[in-house]
Structure formats: structure tokens, C-alpha cells
């Protein structure tokens, strides 16, 4: 599979605090890749740096061979990377449909936007039922569906999801995982940040383990799942 994203020696931080200390990571087309690690390891900062919300200090981010480490959020999205932020961050006071349309903000192809609306409504029928409701009044699981659907509405080549399972019941996580597998089956590459390593390893074929701003381990999830150190640190066995 051709390479979609390659990050090399990436450092970033906020003010005097450096969070990322030289991240190397790659994502190939069609994959689901997970980034796991404990709280404060830098997973969210990594996604925020890729999407241009946080400026990269050194290193490179190549997306389809193009350097995007200096690009702003709108350029990164236009290049084809959508970012579903931690805590869903849906827009209060706007309906589910308006939230989804904001996902397609950069697009001008009205007919195709309508097709994609139908696509995400097919994927998550709950959103169709609630399309006119204030998005932030839905349950946590429904909000996560809406946030993922909003990410898809930009028609990205790579979908980054920060904390898919946070605060959700196991049955809902199962439902969302199925949705993600279906989306991936339709050809969308996914980069998933997840604190729940079990969920992450079930979904992803490869994973990167982040510890204090560095990649501590990387590899196939089936191999990592048998790694004694990872089993002890993250899987609780």
C-alpha cells in the first residue's frame, strides 16, 4: 500500500513547554493505525500539530508527499486530513445537519455534499432521526457519531479521531467501532488516538505507543498485544 502520511523528527509544544520530542510515524493508505499511550503522553498534541492547530517546531509532516508542517488548519483540511477533536466539540445551538454541513465548509459541490449527507445518515441512522435537533443535546455516543460524520463530510483522505471511546458505554463503543470499520472498508484511512488500548488494538492493524512525547514502540497490533511490557502497562494483565 502506498504511503499516505509520514512524520519525521516532529517536535512541538505550547510556550515554554515542549510536548513532542521527535515523533516518527507513518500511515499507509487504507490502514487503521492507532496511537496509544497514557494521559499527557502527547497524543492529542500530535494530532493538533498534524492538523495545524499547534505549530510544528522542527521535523516534517509529509502528506501524499507534500510538506504540510507549516500549513494552517484550513490548508491541512483542504489537503485531505480531517480531525475529529477530543470531546467531540460539536457546535452548540446548531442542528445535527448544520454541524454536518460545517464539516463540508470548504466544499462547493452541493449535489455531492447531499450525497455524502445521505452516506453518513446511512452509516449512523440515529443522526438522520435527529437531524434537526441541537447536536449538543444528544447522548455522548450520538454526539461522537455526529463528530465522526462531520469529519467525513469534508471527504478527507485521512480521518484522525481523538479519543473515540472516552466516556462511552461498551455497547456504544462497539457500535462506533463497527461504523469505523465500515468507513474504512469504503476506502478511508483512519488514524486513531485512544487511551483504551484494548479498543484500539481491536480496530487497528498497526499501532504506535507514545510515552512522554516520544514513540516508545511501534508495530502490528497482534504483535504488540503479546508484548509483555505493553500487556503490563496498558492491558492490565
Amino acid at each position: 500500500m502506498p504511503e499516505l502520511l509520514r512524520i519525521a523528527g516532529l517536535t512541538a509544544g505550547y510556550g515554554d513547554v515542549q510536548v513532542l520530542w521527535g515523533i516518527d510515524l507513518d500511515v499507509r493508505e487504507g490502514e487503521i493505525v492507532a496511537i496509544v499511550g497514557s494521559n499527557g503522553a502527547g497524543k492529542t498534541t500530535l494530532l493538533r500539530t498534524i492538523s495545524g492547530l499547534v505549530g510544528a517546531r522542527a521535523g516534517s509532516i509529509l502528506f501524499e508527499g507534500r510538506e504540510i508542517s507549516k500549513a494552517g488548519p484550513d490548508e491541512v483540511l483542504a489537503a485531505g486530513i480531517a480531525h475529529v477533536p477530543e470531546g467531540r466539540r460539536l457546535f452548540k445551538g446548531l442542528s445535527v445537519k448544520d454541524n454536518l454541513l460545517l464539516g463540508a465548509y470548504l466544499r462547493r459541490d452541493k449535489a455531492e455534499i447531499q450525497n455524502d449527507l445521505d452516506y453518513v445518515f446511512d452509516l449512523f441512522p440515529r443522526l438522520k432521526e435527529r437531524h434537526s435537533q441541537d447536536a449538543t443535546t444528544m447522548s455522548g455516543g450520538e454526539q461522537q457519531m455526529c463528530a465522526i460524520a462531520r469529519g467525513i463530510m469534508s471527504r478527507p483522505r485521512l480521518l484522525m479521531i481523538d479519543e473515540l471511546s472516552l466516556g462511552l458505554a461498551p455497547a456504544l463503543i462497539e457500535r462506533l467501532s463497527e461504523g469505523l470499520k465500515a468507513i474504512n472498508g469504503n476506502g478511508l484511512t483512519i488514524l486513531l488516538v485512544e487511551q483504551d488500548v484494548m479498543t484500539a488494538f481491536e480496530l487497528a492493524s498497526r499501532a504506535f505507543v507514545v510515552e512522554t512525547g516520544r514513540i516508545a514502540k511501534a508495530g502490528e497490533t497482534v504483535v504488540l498485544a503479546d508484548d509483555p511490557a505493553i500487556r503490563q502497562a496498558y492491558l492490565g494483565v
Binding site: P73, D74, P85, R89, F91, L94, L102, L106
Partner: protein, 286 residues
């Protein structure tokens, strides 16, 4: 004066107040900027309308869209060049900046236009409806004020740019992740605020004499309307504007016109204590 007449006067005035305040409210709600320029924007719109009519004979209704477009450009430029530099700073910083810019604009207008009260006199006569006497020009002003306010509402609720403005207001960094260029939306929003002020000024110039000295009065009214109705929403400005118009109309008759303004501010203070979100404001949405 009978009840219906006072009420009608209040509603006419209130519609103009809504149009006057809605841009101020939008800028405050979306940018968290208290725009001290707003009163002078209204005066500028009014003066431009007056001088175009007096010097070139251009009808105010033709000037209205021209003035509105011109003020949009002025507002957009001011935000893009100056205010965006400090827009994330605490509210006192942006308030000081717009206050300074207002001093410049206010004094420029006083120098070049003088402070003489000016009014466009169209002489359209008046009509009588159910015993209520209504000058046509005021009815026209009211209708246009409501129309413009309604247009703004439809734009915010139903258009791509309107959704982007609401999104930026609710969550700036999530909006950036949608590909929205936040600073550009700020400039557009500030431009729309100035546009509504300019349009309100054009309408006011047809109904009342305006002078630069009224700049602070208009700003104060915008403040009161926002607090009474609820900050940052078009329905809030509409309700607040109509409420203030009716309050002023009744207190002007009952207590004398010199007390109308005081009563308006008293109601504002009262609402700040008992219902700080305003009459139709939503908590967390202010």
C-alpha cells in the same frame, strides 16, 4: 395621548432600535469585542445619506444599500488591519482600541460634517389607522429596519457564511478544524456589524435629526438593547429593541421625555440583577 398612539410610537422606535443594536450585539457575541465605534458608524451612515440627498439629490432609499456596503468595507478593513491583532486579548484591550478608533472617527466627522443636526425631509405625509396617527416616513423606517434585521437573521441561520459565524462564536478551534479561517470570519462579522449600523443610520436620518453628538447616545442604546434582550442573537436584539422603544415611549409620556432614557437604563440595571441573560437570551449562549 391615548394608549394605542403611545404604543405605536414605541413600536416604530423599537424597530429602529433593534436595527441599531443588532450589529453591536453580533460583534459582541461572536468576537467578544465591545465595539465603541458602533455609535459613530450609525452617525456616519446617517451623514452620508443626508449629504448624498442634500448635495446630489440621491434618494435615501438608493443610498441605503450604498452606505451599508461602504460601512461593511470600513468595518472589514478595521477588523482585518487593527482589531484582529488583539482580538484574543482581554475585553478591556479591544474596548480601548475601539474607543481610540472611535475618537478618531468621531472627531473627523465633527471636523468635516460639523455637529449641526441634519435630517432628510422626504415629506411623505402621514396616515391615520384606527385613530392612530403615523407619519409615512416612520412606517417606512420601521418596515426597512425590520426587513434588514430579518435578512440578517435568515443569513445567520441559513447560509454557509452564517453557519461559519455561529461556529466561530461557539468554538473557535473546532471551527478552525472545519477549515474556517477564523480571522476572516471575524472581519466579516465586524463588517456586518458596521453594515447594520450604517443602514440604521440611514434610516434614522430619515426619521430624526442626527448629529455627531448623538454617537454616544446611540452606543448607549445599543448597550441597553443587548442587555434587555439578550446578547449576540438577532431575536434578542429584536425583543430588546422593541422593549426599549415601548419603555421610552410610555415613560416619555408619563414622566416626561427627559426621563425616558433614565427609565431605559433603570430597566437594564434591573434585568442585570434578576435576569442577566436578557429576556430571550440563553445561558451559555450569551
Amino acid at each position: 395621548m391615548d394608549f394605542a398612539q403611545i404604543l405605536a410610537n414605541g413600536v416604530v422606535l423599537g424597530a429602529l432600535y433593534a436595527c441599531l443594536a443588532v450589529g453591536f450585539s453580533l460583534v459582541w457575541g461572536v468576537l467578544n469585542v465591545i465595539n465603541m465605534l458602533h455609535g459613530s458608524f450609525i452617525i456616519l451612515g446617517g451623514y452620508l445619506t443626508y449629504f448624498a440627498w442634500q448635495m446630489f439629490g440621491i434618494h435615501p432609499l438608493i443610498m441605503l444599500p450604498i452606505v451599508a456596503a461602504f460601512l461593511f468595507v470600513v468595518g472589514y478593513a478595521l477588523q482585518a488591519i487593527f482589531i484582529n491583532k488583539v482580538v484574543t486579548a482581554p475585553v478591556l484591550v479591544t474596548l480601548t482600541l475601539t474607543f481610540g478608533l472611535d475618537m478618531i472617527l468621531y472627531n473627523l466627522m465633527t471636523v468635516y460634517f460639523s455637529a449641526t443636526p441634519r435630517q432628510v425631509t422626504l415629506g411623505l405625509g402621514s396616515i391615520q389607522l384606527f385613530g392612530v396617527y403615523l407619519p409615512v416616513v416612520r412606517l417606512l423606517g420601521m418596515a426597512l429596519a425590520l426587513l434588514l434585521t430579518g435578512l440578517l437573521y435568515v443569513t445567520l441561520r441559513g447560509s454557509r457564511i452564517g453557519r461559519a459565524i455561529v461556529a466561530v462564536r461557539m468554538d473557535r478551534s473546532a471551527a478552525a478544524l472545519m477549515g474556517i479561517r477564523v480571522n476572516r470570519i471575524y472581519a466579516i462579522t465586524f463588517g456586518i456589524g458596521a453594515l447594520m449600523a450604517g443602514a440604521a443610520g440611514a434610516l434614522f436620518a430619515m426619521v430624526f435629526p442626527i448629529t455627531t453628538n448623538l454617537s454616544g447616545v446611540f452606543l448607549g442604546k445599543a448597550f441597553v438593547v443587548c442587555v434587555i434582550g439578550g446578547l449576540g442573537s438577532v431575536p434578542g436584539a429584536l425583543v430588546g429593541g422593541l422593549a426599549l422603544g415601548i419603555i421610552e415611549s410610555f415613560s416619555g409620556v408619563l414622566l416626561g421625555p427627559q426621563h425616558a432614557l433614565t427609565v431605559g437604563f433603570l430597566v437594564m440595571l434591573l434585568l442585570l440583577i434578576v435576569r442577566p441573560t436578557g429576556l430571550v437570551g440563553v445561558k451559555g449562549y450569551e
